[in-house]
Structure formats: C-alpha cells, structure tokens
Symmetry: D2
Subunit: 263 residues, 4 copies
C-alpha cells in the first residue's frame, strides 16, 4: 500500500519573531510548529512534508498540492498574507478529495472559512488555564486509542458559541478550568474532501509535544487522506436523456445558442 | 406586526438580450424575472422590492441590504459580474440573520457557493421536458399548501449529483421525464441566516407564473425572514474567566502584547 | 390565537417516598415536580396541565394525549412502570406532530429511547457540584432571552459520551466543576414531531425554581408545540401512476392478490 | 486480515407460498432470497451465512448474532412474527457495533423502525414499471464501482415522502417511470453501528440477480461491518471527579442510598 502523503503547512511567523514569548516558542519548536508536527506524527504509513508561508509560492506550489493526500494548516497572525488564488487552488483540491486538518487559530484562516461559509468566530481567553479534552464519539476513527479524556495543562481557552455550520459532527469537546466549553474536534465533508478541525495547539505552550495530541493528529491524517481519484467539480450536459422524452420542446424552433454565453 | 422586507435581485441580462429566445422571455416577463416574482408573491405581510444588476451599486446598496429581511437571487450568465466586495457584504448580512433564497441557475452564483463552500455543480439538459416536483418534508413551513406533487410542463433538467454539503435538509425532490432526479428544494442554516435553494425557474419557460411555484416562494420568504437582531460575527475576549482559575499561568512573567498583532 | 396545550407528566415517585432526601424534595416541590414546572412556565399563551403516573391510565388517557400539543416528561426510577402500550400511543402522537420535552433522567425513559433508537447512556456523578450551562446556538428559539451562560449551583453531573444519534442539534452545552462536559440541550425532528432534551433537573436540588431553567422550558413549549394537523403515518398505495407507464408489467397475467397478506 | 462475517436473514415466506407468483419467485430464487444474496455477494473477504425465520430461534441464536459483523434483513409479510425479544437483542448488537443492511420491504420491519424511531412509511405501487437508480454521493464507499445510474427493468415503486429521520445521508435516489422519486439508498449511525437501507428488491422480479444491485450490497457489507470492539451501552458512575470540586455538597449529610433504587 502506498503511503499517505501529508503536507503540514505553517505560517511560521511567531517562530521567527523577537521577544521573550518568541524565545519560549522556539524552545518548544526549534524548527517551527510544522516540523514538530511532522516529526510527532512520523510513521511508516505516512510520508510527511513540512512547509511554510515563507517558502516559494507560499509553500504550496501546485505540484505539491496535487501530490498531497491531506493538508494540515496552522496559521494565526498571517491569515491575510495567504493569497486568494492559493486559497482557490486549495479549495478545489479539497472538493476533489484532498483532506484538510485545521489546527487551533486556523479556525480563522481563509481556507477554513472558505470551506464552511461561516464566520468561525469564538470566545477566547489567554490565562494559561487547564483544558480537559473529552472523547464524545468513541467510535470515530480519529478517537481510536485516545483516552476517554486527557488534560492539556496550560492552554488558550476557545469557547462556545463557535460559528460553524450546525451539522458539525462532534468528535471531541473541551472543558476549561475557567468555566467554558467548546466543540474542540469537529468534522465536515465538503465535496469529496474530509475536513477535521482540532482546537488545541496554542503556540506558547508545548501542546504539540503531548502524545495524546499527536495521537489525534496521526489518526486525523489517516481518516482525512484522499483515497478516491480526483472528483469532478464542474457541471456537465447530459444529452441525450437516458429515458425517452415524450413532451414536445417549445424551444425547438428557436436558436438558443447564444443563451448560455457568459455576459 | 411589521412586514417582512423582501428584496428580489435579478441579473436582468437575458431580458435585455437580442434574439427570438429573448423575445420569448420578455413575453413571459415584460418587466424582468425580478418584477414577476415580486408581483407573484405580493401579500399584505410582505414588503417586496425588485432590483437588478444594472442598477447603481449593482442593485444592492448597503442601506438596502441592511433593511432586507430576506434576499432572493436569480442569476445565470452574469455571475462573474457581481463584485466580490458585494458578495462579502451579502455574506455578512446572512451570517447576521438575513435570509437567502437562491433560484435555479443561482446554484452557481458567487453568493451561494460562498455560503456553502462547495462547487454546487450538477448535470443539466435543455430539451423542454416535463418536471414533477414532490414534497419530501410535508411538515416543513415551505411546503405548506403545496400539493403532494405538481408538474412543470417544460423545464430545464437539473440532475444529481448536486455538489452541496451532504447535510442539506431536503424539502422537495424532482422527477424529470428524461430519467433524472434532483434535490430541487433544500435548506441550510449558516450563522443566524436561513438559506433555501429552489431549482425550478428556467428563463425560457413561464415557470414563475405557476401558482405552485409562487406558493413555494412566498412560503420561503416567510420561513427565511430575519426575526432576531443582527448576530455578532466576531471573536471576542472573555476576561476575566467566569469560574476561578487555580492553575498558575506560565506566561505571567512574559510580555505577550505583541503576540496577537497581525503580521 | 388558541393557547398551546402543554401536559407535564411526572412519575411522582420520589415526592412520595420516605426519608430525609424525600423530605428535601418535598420542601422544593410540595406538589411534585410536575406542578412546579406547570406553575413555573404558566403564561397567557399556554394551557398547562400537570399529570402523573399514579393517575388513571398512568396519567395519559387517549383523550388527553389527543389534546396535547407538547408533552413534558420527567421520570427516573419508574421508567419500567410505564406500559409499552402507552409508549406506543405517545410515539404515534409525536410522529403525527405532538412535541416532546424530555427532562433530566428522562434520558433513560422508554419514550425517549423509543424515539431515538439509541441507548441514551451517559456518565453521571452525584456530589452536588456546580454546573454552568452555555448557549451554543444563540439563534435557536429555545435560547431566546437566556443569558450567554448561567449557573446551577448544585447539580447531578451528566457527562459525555451521551448515547444519542450524532445528528443531534446542539442548543446548550454544560460545564461541570468536576471536569466534565455535556450536550445538555439538544433537539431532534421525528416524523412531524419536534423533540427537545434538557438535562438540568435533578430532584434533590431546586433546579426547576431557577428562572433561567424555567425560561428554557417555556421557550421549549412554544418551539415544540404542534402547529400542523396530525400527519399521516401509514403507507399508502398510489394507483394509478401520475405519469404514463410505457413498460409492460410482467406480472399482469398473474394473480397476486394473496401476496400482500400478512403471514 | 480476518473475513467480514455477514449474516443474511430472510423471512422466507413468499418462497414457500402457493400460487403462480410464488412459482415465479422460486424460479428466480430457488433457495430463497437469502441464499441468492449470499451467493451474489460471495467474495474472498466475506464469510456469508444465510438464515431464515423458520430456523430455530428465528434464525438468529445469540451465538450467531454475537459473531456477526453485519446483518442483512429481508422481510415483508412476516414482520409481526419476529419476536420482540429478538429485536431487543439485535438492537443491542447494532448499538455495540454490528452493521445492519435493511432491504426493500424491510423498511417496515420491527428492527428498522426500532433503530430509527419513525414510522418509515412511504407510497407504493406495483405495476412492473421501470426504476432508474442514481448515485447521489459518488464518494461514498457504497457507491464505488456503481455506474452513475442503472436501470431496474421492472420494480415495485417506493415513493416519497419516506418517513425516516431528516438527517438520513443520501447515497442513492431513484426515478420511476410512473412519475415518482425516492431516497432509495440512505445511511445512519446509531450507537457504534452503521445502518444502510436500500429499497430495490421486490420479490416478484429478479432484482437480486442484477450485478449493479449485488455490487451495492457487497459494498454495503464492507462499509457497515463492525471493526471496533463492542461498545459500552450502559450508564456509568464517574467517582471521583477528574477535577477538584470546591463546592460543598448540600446532600452530604443526607442518606440517599435509597434514591436510585428502581420503583
């Protein structure tokens, strides 16, 4: 069986910033969050690449995108820097079948909002409080091998209401010491693509070093990976009709060749 | 009770074209599809305006948009002419609570695809065949007073697979003489806004003159109308926590003021 | 406009028990939980009756059931005492259009499990901890006028995973001091009937005396109330076909009159 | 990899009846519908057993049920003969993880109605008309290798409205010559079990001899097969709380040992 081709994209901005908090981030992730995730989920059945916004073509040349089965996305302060044309190309790939795993502050990324159509807003608080993540759908492939609940010792709070479509399939829910709750792991299907959002992952805490978190991400890579050939995403004409049409066409004597031209 | 403010938007391009088919369209809709719909759903509880792409600000100045409870949308060959900034403003209004009713070839409009995130493709055929529309969810407000099934004598076929999110709530399904089927009436909730798509309405047949179709559209206006105040669509900080946080914050001694700045 | 006819059913067993905890329950609900709820949601547009298992026909004679627009259900240790034939009749009424509001330990009632088909299990803990209920779908009619979050000072914990169908529409989620989370307010549509489950309501704390809880219950009565005539719930034959059938029927020469008889 | 254990259950009543139509059924299915399906989906990765109502323990002794990964169900005139205790045991197995594939008139079986909670009614007509089955969700595993649409030359019509929960995931939709439409292939998740309903399969036509139909059924067996260990379906107490509870318990001084006893 061929390996699942995972591409982990990171804006990689905090990691290159100045200041004490940036030093702290670098102490957890010396090669950036993208490389930490790539190392953390490394396995025989995965072929993982780590890329970032500061690379040519914003890290995602078309050739790489075409050869990615599942794309991970971490962004925060650089959402606006991602070019709309790239977002268009990623969206097309997802509808064709590529998986998408959106992490933490990626809830506000162009690609996540594009795929869902909603504002994707939420409450937040940054006081280093404790988070407890609960498995809600024990039968979901992403939850296999994950304990019933696990603790993230220090986290940024993301709280309800979360501005996503109400049909979100809830896999994980989080409890926060400060009194909030959140649908912290949710899935969607859009076109042929599977989408998973997972909220833990604030940059100033070493969350992507926790084995439970990495277990979730590895499961997500396998669940979301494209397995079918690229799906068709265009309209198409179906002439002639599969069944006999007995009605007479009132338009038969009128030339409509110019009707379907773009204005 | 105040009236529901409905704005019917139409690209109004076919109606001004040259050729026999355009003459035919004008014979059905001398004032355009938008005015035909506005007249067709006129009722004491509705305050209906008809606007079009060729008007100032593409027919939807911000003031009108702010004072619209439900927006109807008919477009076909002019989708690309609608400015992205207008689509942004419409999306925001829908997420805040404005209803959206998308008609026929509007399945490919920028605003419908924006709200759903999918490609919204379908099969089509234009041979003037018969369509029979079936009520699938008899209990839905949009189906009230609509017969169990009704015939559109000549139609353009729209067939499955329809590229929308799988959670679409199916209110109507259509049968076509030529052998196809379609989820011809589907609803979605996005943010605080309600969305209804209804496929009948090809321009070269007088479909918006049929009482069953107008019954559906009038019901849709009432179902989708905004009833709540505009919803908040931004993130917000929740400090202090509603419950006491006992954990110590490892970040307390680090200045993070520059962390949340946009790159 | 005629009033919404609400019937609040309670097993009314704890209220008549012996022991200190039963005395405590009686101190909160001298006339039983059913009467407390009936009084608590009393309003001009509601016609509320309180009934209990110890009444004739287990409190729900057919005539009352036929004249109920929405049924509230509180049960705990007496689930098994409810007759299957009564459950059948309630299920039929819900599918026809009657609303159902299931409270607290009613998650394990025969009627709730009947309507959902799942086991409806959950975690629980009884240590008098604090619960904070969050509004997740601010736009839902049941959440109108309810604060963003509110506290139940002492509660029984109900925690995930909650064994309900994954499509549950989440209106409220709860946070518990002891570290758990729960989808504490969820809705379903089954046939023409609307169903709402709300978990707060443990008998040893005066939860149905809290104004926020009563606000939710009053909203739920209005949301779930039957508004359409009773729906048909049987199969029916559609002869002749609405469209002409051109195929020859291979069965035409065979007598199949005995085929559809029950064995 | 171990084989998927499929058990095909059939009431096997028509096959043993008298009359010309029963002779016809036997000409298609000399060993009964259950054996025809078992032979038709036979493959190296499947271990298929065919059982029927007239066998000991109605064909489904507990030991077989415990060792079934996916259960197929064909019934029509004998639904009432299936014992409620057996339905209880099947439901428990499904919630634990066993798959269920319900065929044709099985829409009215006890087990399908038990799992969905709805009346599962539909329109029907028996005039030997043509059916065309369309793939709606091309990406679904059950649709792999199935043509975009295929014809069943003679069928019993099953038409909308279909009385199932509105969240049904639609994989196939059918067109009927006589003018009707139907969601002919739908999936559900209940507990850990996957459920697929497929409407084609009327007994008086050799529908289970069509390769497209058998392709669908084979795919369904693989899709619905239990892959996880049996899920827990009971409530359980979680003492002590995973997080420290600071609130005082007002019940601490009261003996509540008798509170949770069944009445």
């Amino acid at each position: 069986m061929s390996k699942i081709r995972v591409t982990v994209w990171n804006e990689n901005i905090h990691e290159k910033a100045e200041g004490g908090w940036a030093d702290l981030i670098r102490s957890f992730y010396p090669n950036g969050i993208h490389n930490a995730i790539a190392e953390g989920i490394a396995a025989d059945d995965l072929d993982v690449k780590a890329v970032s916004l500061d690379m040519p073509e914003q890290g995602l040349p078309q050739d790489l995108l075409e050869n990615t089965d599942v794309l991970f996305w971490w962004g925060h302060c650089g959402h606006d820097k991602v070019e709309d044309a790239l977002v268009d190309r990623i969206q097309k790939r997802i509808l064709e079948g590529m998986g998408l795993v959106v992490l933490h502050s990626g809830h506000y990324s162009k690609i996540f909002r594009r795929m869902l159509g909603t504002h994707c807003s939420l409450r937040w608080r940054e006081c280093g409080e404790k988070e407890r993540v609960w498995v809600v759908d024990k039968d979901h492939p992403i939850a296999q091998g994950v304990p019933d609940s696990f603790v993230i010792p220090h986290t940024e709070m993301y709280g309800e209401p979360f501005g996503i479509p109400p049909e979100a399939h809830v896999v994980f829910m989080s409890w926060y010491e400060g009194g909030n709750v959140f649908r912290s792991g949710v899935t969607f299907q859009r076109g042929q693509g599977k989408i998973f959002y997972f909220s833990p992952g604030h940059e100033t805490f070493p969350i992507y070093r926790q084995p439970e978190v990495l277990k979730v991400l590895g499961n997500a890579a396998r669940w979301a990976a494209q397995t079918l050939p690229n799906a068709k995403t265009d309209c198409w004409n179906q002439d002639p009709a599969p069944e006999k049409v007995y009605s007479e066409n009132p338009m038969d004597k009128i030339d409509t060749s110019s009707l379907h031209k773009k204005a």
